[in-house]
């Protein structure tokens, strides 16, 4: 046939308009361009000017259109009409819904505010929701950090005043060796992929430490398929090898860490293990210039790493000497840990040597002079181009806090934190633990709480205990069981509320957390707790209010549903007061705004809280005349001031035309300025302040100008965390506030002020259940949110259990087989698949793909419900009984972080059942199911 080439229109109109807002398909908060046609969303792409994603966008982000059109969207407020769990509701008006909520909550506030438990899941407005909860007066508020990565955040902040992801990032432009621990595919999503791309483009080396070689680890130059839960042991071996060889940055340790600080060594002293301090409380060091003890921050001193001081009969030695005693010990040598971590000693030593080589033989220098807080000026910025990143993989273990601490110690010994090529903080970090609030739990009927709920404790006096020493919070955060639980323990709320331990509650109010399904341990048990009735036929948890945009599994368990909008229909602020979107070179914040209006009878959760707060007469939510103070969340974002001149958004405050400094009076046109600027504000850090921020005068001054602090706050990295020692002292009998006897031994063992490793496997009965079972989150799916997404569920519609070659052969599995997986707590029966690039004693699956029938507007035969499954059924919130008459929590004893990844199981081949087990009966769908075909093109 002759060639006939048709004319193609190569310049079609793309859209009527582009509206720029912030993505919410995961927690990364990328900037997006929403292309509109005929008033509808037609196409979503990344915003090239946005600091987080610089134009790129992941699969989830591009699939946002299917989230906005999802048939699972809730349509109106609903009141339960069937039994709890059935999913039977009737739609009601907002007035009726908010009147009902007010009728329930007003008496609670007047009589016993703690009987409201308000937990907000994957909330990105925690500075607002916590403000609301504080005004209500309940101590029972937190978001989801306790079951996510609190170990990473808390260990980072206690150790170095910042942590990975939202608080800091590798210096992607200068690093030459990047080591990634326990991050498979996410957190943070696009920035890590962009960073890896930069490293690959210039041939920098990537080492991945993860039992599973997928995602980021698949492209690592070296893969270390470590035994799960032993990362801390491996890291301490690296520290041992590096210290033994003297491959550590002594100048950095002396000047910027508490390694030279003097520690009391007097046996039996109530101050043993505490710092020698001046009368003003400043920790003291020996000055090498004079040999005399001096406050650490004195101008011009040379702190001595090997300082020793004997005064009034008491010997004090530097932290660094304690580290020498601890980490040079041969028990940390590579050959002594190799078997346990599953990595040959030669490989451990090769990795240590590689770190040493790059840090000390490929040192870089930036030609930027800088001056530190002691007045020492250096003509260049010296860089150690070794960087690290880690997230849930190392933190969701019972030894996670200490493991995360060990990793930070490794970074600091190499002198690579805040040095060019290393790890860099993002404003408002660096910020030491002392600069954060302490937890507050002072309750008075009808009154606000006495301060912020969450914070950082610095000793037993800061625990959230009542006058009798009992837990003040329903989740038992900040108690002797988990003293440093900086994010609360959302995963313990339902089981504690059901047990009435430490007390009974009246109303459980939750937002955006699928606690009856993929976000809880012991999922079957939790569903029973939510529906359990007492001898009078009343629900044991009397009232449940839930807010979500979608028909998730949790909806069926609520008495009252307050439907939220989708992310393109709402105002939000990604605030410097909360979880910021800053970059290492800039402070930045962002908004969401309604690029479309909801076509349903729904309200943004935060706008709804403005109204509910006014109905409840909460201080801060009403004017003097009792009228509603903030019409909606946009009004709050614009006009609320946390301190004079400081509000939820830092940009375009006061009269500023150019974006402003970060401080200033509320500006009624602020949101318009954000929209004009693409939905975000950014303020760059000056060149001289870009590195060494915790100690750099230039950065400290810039941070004050920007409103991050009110005065400069330089500090030392805490290799030795003194507050932990205070808990050990209490356990040894020192002080008024004393732990219960059964916790003394554990406190002494685990609250070591220097990082340690302990084995969580025996508590999980690893002798009888020898295989570790893990989950990972796929890059193209976020929690349960993606299940309703017609495009994403074609990529991850079901989740086989991946089995390594050794176990595959041992059990004679073939394709299409099923296995029964048994843990000390329960069993599941699920489809298996072979994967060779996997630790030989580890099995795993994708997180949160499994669905309950009836949820998410999926058909009952959806593969998510028939072949998909959750490991959650195998994990209990308590450890198996040890025979000591006690039941210990399945969490980190320091922070309460849920120890998801300590799960130990057995595996056996079984005949394929009709569907994955356990299978639960369908919930009624309050929104029906979706259409049978999608064939949509917008009208231009």
């Amino acid at each position: 046939m002759a060639r006939v080439q048709p004319n193609v229109d190569t310049s079609p109109k793309v859209s009527d308009e582009v509206r720029q807002t912030t993505c919410y398909m995961c927690a990364c908060r990328c900037g997006i361009n929403v292309h509109m046609k005929d008033g509808k969303v037609a196409y979503i792409e990344g915003n090239k000017d946005h600091p987080v994603n610089q134009g790129v966008l992941c699969a989830k982000g591009s699939a946002g259109i299917m989230q906005v059109n999802a048939p699972s969207r809730l349509r109106a407020p609903m009141k339960r009409v069937g039994p709890r769990g059935s999913g039977e509701f009737e739609e009601i008006s907002w007035d009726e819904a908010l009147s009902l909520a007010t009728d329930w909550l007003a008496p609670v506030r007047a009589e016993a505010p703690q009987k409201l438990a308000f937990f907000t899941g994957r909330d990105q407005s925690q500075s607002f929701t916590s403000y609301w909860a504080q005004a209500f007066g309940t101590p029972n508020y937190a978001a989801h950090g306790g079951f996510c990565s609190v170990n990473m955040a808390a260990a980072g902040i206690y150790t170095m005043g910042g942590a990975f992801w939202e608080f800091g990032q590798p210096d992607w432009d200068h690093t030459k060796l990047f080591m990634l621990f326990g991050v498979a595919e996410d957190h943070d999503s696009n920035p890590i992929k962009m960073g890896l791309g930069k490293l690959k483009a210039r041939g920098a080396k990537v080492i991945g430490v993860n039992p599973i070689r997928s995602g980021y680890n698949a492209i690592a130059d070296d893969w270390v398929g470590i035994t799960p839960g032993t990362d801390g042991l491996f890291i301490l071996a690296l520290i041992h090898e590096l210290m033994t060889a003297g491959k550590i940055d002594l100048d950095y340790l002396a000047h910027y860490t508490n390694a030279p600080v003097l520690v009391n060594e007097e046996d039996g002293s109530p101050e043993k293990g505490l710092f020698l301090r001046t009368t003003d409380g400043a920790p003291m060091v020996i000055d090498r210039n004079t040999g005399k003890p001096m406050p650490y921050d004195c101008e011009g001193i040379e702190p001595d790493l090997s300082g020793t001081l004997r005064i009034a009969g008491t010997t004090h030695r530097s932290v660094f000497q304690l580290m020498i005693d601890e980490y040079l010990d041969p028990r940390h040598a590579a050959e002594n840990v190799a078997r346990k971590v599953g990595i040959p000693a030669t490989r451990i030593r090769a990795i240590a040597a590689e770190l040493a080589r790059v840090a000390f033989e490929e040192e870089i220098e930036l030609p930027t002079p800088w001056t530190d807080f002691r007045g020492r000026t250096q003509q260049t910025m010296k860089g150690r181009p070794v960087s690290f990143h880690a997230m849930r993989g190392i933190s969701a273990h019972a030894n996670g806090f200490q493991t995360c601490r060990a990793l930070h110690m490794l970074q600091i010994l190499l002198g690579s934190v805040e040095a060019p090529g290393g790890f860099r903080f993002k404003p408002p970090y660096p910020k030491p633990a002392e600069a954060h609030p302490k937890p507050h739990c002072g309750v008075k009927p009808g009154q606000p709480l006495d301060g912020p709920h969450l914070g950082f404790v610095h000793g037993p006096d800061d625990l959230a205990l009542d006058a009798d020493g009992n837990p003040a919070r329903i989740d038992k955060a900040f108690t002797w069981e988990n003293p440093m639980s900086a994010h609360g323990l959302m995963h313990m709320v339902i089981s504690n509320a059901h047990a009435g331990d430490p007390y009974k509650i009246d109303t459980l109010f939750m937002y955006m957390a699928n606690m009856s399904w993929n976000s809880s341990m012991n999922t079957g048990g939790v569903m029973e707790m939510l529906t359990d009735q007492d001898e009078n036929g009343d629900y044991v948890i009397p009232r449940i209010i839930y807010s979500d945009a979608y028909s998730s599994e949790m909806v069926a368990f609520a008495d009252l549903i307050l439907p939220d909008t989708t992310y393109l229909e709402r105002h939000d602020c990604i605030s410097l007061l909360d979880r910021p979107i800053c970059e290492a070179d800039a402070a930045a914040d962002a908004i969401r705004w309604p690029v479309i209006e909801p076509d349903r009878n729904v309200k943004g959760f935060q706008s709804m809280l403005c109204e509910l707060g006014a109905r409840l007469d909460l201080p801060g939510f009403v004017n003097d005349d009792g009228s509603q103070k903030y019409a909606d969340y946009a009004d709050y974002i614009t006009n609320h001031q946390r301190r004079p001149g400081i509000g939820p958004l830092a940009g375009w405050r006061g009269e500023a035309e150019d974006g402003g400094t970060g401080r200033g009076a509320p500006n009624p046109e602020q949101l318009d300025r954000y929209i004009e600027n693409g939905g975000f504000w950014i303020k760059h850090i000056p060149e001289a302040a870009k590195y060494y921020k915790p100690w750099s005068n230039a950065y400290q001054d810039w941070a004050v100008e920007t409103g991050i602090y009110d005065k400069p706050a330089p500090y030392l990295f805490q290799l030795y965390v003194e507050p932990m020692r205070k808990f050990q002292l209490a356990a040894e009998g020192v002080g008024e506030r004393q732990p219960p006897d059964h916790l003394r031994g554990r406190l002494m063992r685990t609250m070591s002020p220097l990082p340690i490793w302990y084995d969580a496997a025996p508590d999980n009965l690893s002798a009888s259940y020898p295989i570790t079972a893990l989950t990972q989150r796929p890059m193209a799916m976020y929690h349960s949110w993606g299940s309703q997404n017609a495009w994403l569920r074609q990529i991850h519609g079901h989740n086989p259990l991946y089995v390594p070659t050794k176990l595959w052969e041992e059990h004679k599995f073939t394709d299409g087989d099923w296995a029964r997986v048994t843990s000390p707590h329960g069993e599941i029966t699920v489809p298996v698949a072979h994967m060779a690039a996997l630790n030989e004693n580890t099995i795993w699956t994708w997180n949160a793909i499994g669905k309950r029938k009836g949820a998410w507007a999926l058909d009952k035969d959806a593969p998510e419900a028939t072949k998909g499954f959750l490991l959650n059924h195998l994990i209990h919130e308590l450890l198996p009984a040890k025979g000591d008459g006690l039941r210990w929590s399945n969490s980190d004893p320091i922070t309460g972080q849920a120890a998801w990844f300590d799960l130990k199981v057995r595996l056996e081949k079984v005949r394929a059942p009709a569907e994955s087990q356990p299978a639960y009966p369908p919930q009624a769908s309050p929104v029906g199911t979706g259409p049978g075909e999608l064939k949509v093109k917008s009208k231009a």
């Binding site: 060639r3 006939v4 080439q5 193609v8 229109d9 190569t10 310049s11 079609p12 792409e45 990344g46 090239k48 994603n53 790129v56 699969a59 591009s62 962009m194 890896l196 791309g197 690959k200 483009a201 070689r213 995602g215 698949a218 492209i219 690592a220 070296d222 893969w223 398929g225 090898e241 033994t244 060889a245 003297g246 491959k247 100048d251 002396a254 090498r288 790493l305 090997s306 660094f320 000497q321 040079l328 030593r349 090769a350 040597a353 080589r357 193209a780 017609a790 495009w791 990529i795 690039a837 996997l838 999926l858 058909d859 035969d861 959806a862 593969p863 075909e933 949509v936 093109k937 917008s938």
Partner: protein
Amino acid sequence: MTLLPETTEKKLGLVIDLDTCVGCHACVVSCKGWNTENYGAPLSDQDPYGGAPSGTFLNRVHSFEVTPKEGAAQLVHFPKSCLHCEDAPCVTVCPTGASYKRVEDGIVLVNESDCIGCGLCAWACPYGAREMDQAEGVMKKCTLCVDRIYNENLPEEDRQPACVRTCPSGARHFGDLGDPESEVSLLVAERGGMDLMPEQGTKPVNKYLPPRPRDAAIDILAPLLEPVATGPKGFLGWLDKALEKI
């Protein structure tokens, strides 16, 4: 039987870096979004909320495990879309002339108004790069975003295929592989870019950059870890000397 042009003025195509691709599917969904809204019929989905959801995608990511004789198994993520072959069998097999290769840039397209949905082209393509849209009954394939790369309604920096613009790790590159001096050609030369299944004789324009060697067993750095002293006492002695030197 449809004729191919004897030569094309340019050979526009993709260079996909398998050393860098993390398998995130960003390209897959961005492609789905753009091409649902643009060239030809929307990319439909059948049973999208049901038991057997399926839909039309012009680009998919496959993942393969490689188990070397020595060392750990590896996972390779392999995005695949039309390779815009110079000798495209999907074009020559087309009975209506609906499939064609453009003279000016070498892009292989389907003129949907002439497509009878016979499926011969999908059968002829050795790469499985064409998908029949079940709603429209026409053959869909990668257009290399022909309606983006020249689109005067887009800012110049955005005139590239949607998959390239969105790729978070920068694993996808777009350009003229007919020009030996183009950035993509230089990248192919530097990194040993490869044809997919060259034995098929299709002369694909798209190239793949192979993964760099992984898990190299190196042990030449041992001297770096020589102990500086024996025991804590010895170490303190070393420390004092080292601190003097600072």
